[in-house]
Amino acid sequence: MKEMIKNNLQTAHKPSASNTLTNVAAEEPATTANPKPLVGDSKKVHDVVIIGAGPAALTTSIYLTREDIETLLLEKAIIGGMSAITDWIDNYPGFPDGISGLELADKLRQQAERFGAIINVGEVVGVEKVKQHIKVKTTDNQFLAKSVLIASGSDYKKIGITGEKQYYARGVHYCATCDGAFYRGKKLVVVGGGNSAVQEALFLTRFAEHIDLLVRSTIKASDVLAKELAKHPKITTHLGITPQEIVGDSQKVQKVVATDSNGKKRDFITDGVFVFVGLKPNTMFLKDSAIELDSVGFVKTNHNMQTSVGGIFAAGDVRSGATMQIASAVGEGATVALRIRKYLES
């Protein structure tokens, strides 16, 4: 284990183009001189396998690997999780001017890899206890571990209305930082009234000519964001509005049909719709497992952050009772690392 850590540290200090967020100059060939990434070993028993690589997972891996506890992270999508696709983070301590989500995610990754965390791409499809070990199956591999942390986070919910699926990525979007650039000088609708909806609506004003923010009840975002929203000249907020249908000409979105609090029909003409109506847990891969979930699908844990299956823990947005804050996820990541260490020692 120590030898692996040492090797990882040596690798982690090598300059690497992938260690920077700076974009490769447009249309210039990218460097290919990066070191070969470290990979998990399907033949050995890992000390800890972490499902996910968001703030909770990366924090846990920092704490564990600094204790020479060998840790493999399996991430199906983005290192940094939801934080990486958030435009700007103003409430994470230590950054007085705020920090971009992408940059924070990359700093967390660098810190984890510096101490020897191994981050692999892999979509987990099942978790089960096999005698004293835990088997984690991915779409193309399987790993054994002494302990497992479920930190698979959450994802944006769909509204569930007609047209939403049909126009996905052709006018209906869930990632402003990814797709906002296609709406320069256009009209947009943003759906939602929480922190994410308001933050991303403000981000989209750098592209869109005008934004209608449709809020089912009232604004639930923080006061700071709510004040910024209220004074923004490009955003019109509509309270008590419930979207009913997204209508287009089969090629692109034309309007959102909604109802107001009196049940009266309202049309909002738009070129695109961005949806931020809450989060759903990434726990589909646990549906056939022995791990107990709550009624919404979040993972239940005890006071030690352990699930209903011994040796399997949960932290971050995926945990039942989570507050869906990056700072909380980081705190949970540190706490669960200490619980896992104690479990491994017992």
């Binding site: 183009a17 992938s18 967020l21 974009n23 490769v24 100059a25 447009a26 249309e27 210039e28 060939p29 990218a30 460097t31 290919t32 990066n34 070969k36 990434p37 999508a77 983005i78 290192i79 940094g80 990486a84 696709i85 435009d87 971009s100 989500g101 992408l102 995610a105 990359d106 791409v121 779409t139 990525a169 052709r170 006018g171 979007h173 990632c175 930082t177 990814c178 797709d179 906002g180 650039a181 296609f182 709406y183 320069r184 695109g272």
Partner: protein, 82 residues
């Protein structure tokens, strides 16, 4: 091996960053069109993919055949660059 790979990206797109990082890890070269810096080329990505989303990776094979992958989709990217 592909003859040419072009990725359409934006500055703030985390999925774009992941596609580039993954190609870097495979030692595969590519060209990047950043549509924040060249908004006039955004329509190329839309025309190639039929979607208003990035990343769009256009892989041109040696025989000229093109494959277009939208998003950070390793199930499609991996065989396309093999």
């Amino acid at each position: 091996m592909a003859k040419d790979i072009t990725i359409y990206t934006t500055n703030t797109c985390a999925y774009c960053h992941m596609v580039k990082k993954w190609l870097d890890s495979k030692g595969v070269g590519y060209s990047e069109v950043n549509i924040d810096e060249k908004p006039e080329r955004a329509q190329e990505a839309v025309a190639a993919s039929g979607q208003m989303a990035v990343p769009v990776t256009v892989i041109t094979q040696q025989d000229g055949e093109q494959q277009v992958v939208v998003g950070y989709n390793l199930a499609k990217l991996a065989p396309a660059i093999a």
